[in-house]
Subunit: 275 residues, 2 copies
């Protein structure tokens, strides 16, 4: 196991404080707490207005490490899939407007009532092919995010780094990987696939796996409160050419209930001490 | 995707009714409901007495499709690991006494407080090497069970079929795979690894993945109530030489609360209609 280099700058993924703060609060909060990066979700971005948000983020001097999220391609019928593709085209335009380093893709699970996993994967593949021309034209990197296998049914049939890299290989230029330690830490094939990801990591996300984990989606921990060896994964990312920082993204009912002005200093501390 | 052949006989994994029935109840219940197989957990086996249980299972004419479970090798110190290995030796003796087709291995997660996943995997590897001589001498197949990655921290660092087959390759004769559809259905590499498993499947377990899933351990569904394409996975198993039936193993707070004499007919029906 290699040693990690110094960690790059912190970025706040807005879902971390979603119950308390809109995007304007997040931008001001990052400035107030000295957090140099931000990664908005589309709901808060649209609520604020994309142009307005772009201006305020730029004025605050924040680095936009990503836009969350595109994807969610599978649907029960062709009209639904076409609508999802259109929505992804809007997401690409939004990512371009705010100068996001990438558009993070949570690719979607099984259509309601379906047990056809190969079919859902094919819908993801087709959706991605459909949007790549717009993404390339806009200069927006499509960052495929492998999601933990426990989300396969309802959030993402893209479950491993290896599977995501296979798709990057197929899709070609303009694609990359959004690597969240929460989703990949367990993977017995991780070291090999991280070498394969060389030059293709487009985002690095942190949080932690709690023991016990009481919810398959909303029980993530602050970095350091769980069992993930974050520096070990960061070292692999850095050896594969990642020179950026770490975006902290914590979906947690527990932390959502807290005052973000108390949470952000904790995120900064953990970023410096355990990531 | 190939078509599955006829399904083999049903076996009841005793954990499915653990809140209501001891092993004697399970044996009598299987006979009463016409379920030809049983797979006890060690707690109920020991509570009844191993010799006594072996006799009663034999008298009832039940096929013992497995003993659950060996494994749980990692521990914080050498004494703990040695104790775990000794416990596995007792499990091998018990599996031999009841004539179990295999000893199912749930290999164990991280030692308490540890973030050293490679280290925990090494403890599993060492533990398995340590017990193979006794297993071979007793003629007990060691069935490695890849567990869903959401159990990596606290139940099993063996997370994929591919990783389990790598270990089988290394351990050699006397090893096999316990394949539970719940643990492997999401795996993008499943078809390839199932081909690799040819001749090495030692057990086939059914249940279902519910949407939503409200607990990482105790919220499994009856076959047919979730999203797993069980016949597709069974077809792959049969193409890889599996000629046995299906052991139904449902860890579920919901189903544990029900009268087993109501649950067993449902299991039979689902076994025949959706597995």
């Amino acid at each position: 196991m290699s040693t990690a280099g110094p960690i790059g700058p912190l970025s706040l993924n807005t879902v971390t404080v979603k119950e308390r703060w809109g995007l304007r609060d997040c931008i001001e909060g990052c400035a107030r707490h000295g957090i140099p990066g931000i990664s908005p979700w589309r709901d808060v971005l649209q609520a604020m207005g994309v142009e307005q948000a772009a201006r305020q983020i730029r004025d605050a001097g924040l680095n936009v490490t990503g836009l969350c999220r595109g994807g969610m391609f599978p649907a029960a019928d062709a009209a639904g899939r076409a609508a999802n593709i259109e929505d992804n085209r809007r997401a690409i335009a939004e990512a371009h407007t705010i100068g996001a380093a990438c558009l993070v893709m949570v690719c979607g699970g099984l259509p309601p009532g379906s047990k056809d996993l190969p079919g859902a994967r094919e819908m993801v593949r087709e959706g991605l092919h459909a949007i790549m021309p717009e993404a390339r034209a806009a200069g927006v990197t499509i960052a495929l995010e492998p999601l933990h296998p426990m989300t396969c049914a309802d959030r993402s049939v893209l479950s491993t780094l290896g599977q995501s890299l296979d798709l990057c290989d197929e899709l070609g230029e303009g694609t990359g990987i959004a690597l969240d330690v929460y989703h990949v830490w367990w993977d017995p094939d991780l070291a090999r696939q991280m070498r394969r990801a060389k030059g293709r990591i487009a985002g690095f996300h942190t949080c932690d796996w709690l023991v016990p984990t009481n919810d398959t989606v909303f029980d993530r921990g602050l970095p350091g409160d769980g069992v993930i060896d974050i520096p070990a994964i960061r070292a692999m990312a850095q050896e594969s050419g990642w020179t950026g920082g770490a975006e902290v993204e914590i979906l947690s009912r527990r932390w959502w209930s807290r005052d973000p002005d108390e949470v952000l200093p904790l995120l900064k501390e953990r970023h410096e001490t355990v990531c």
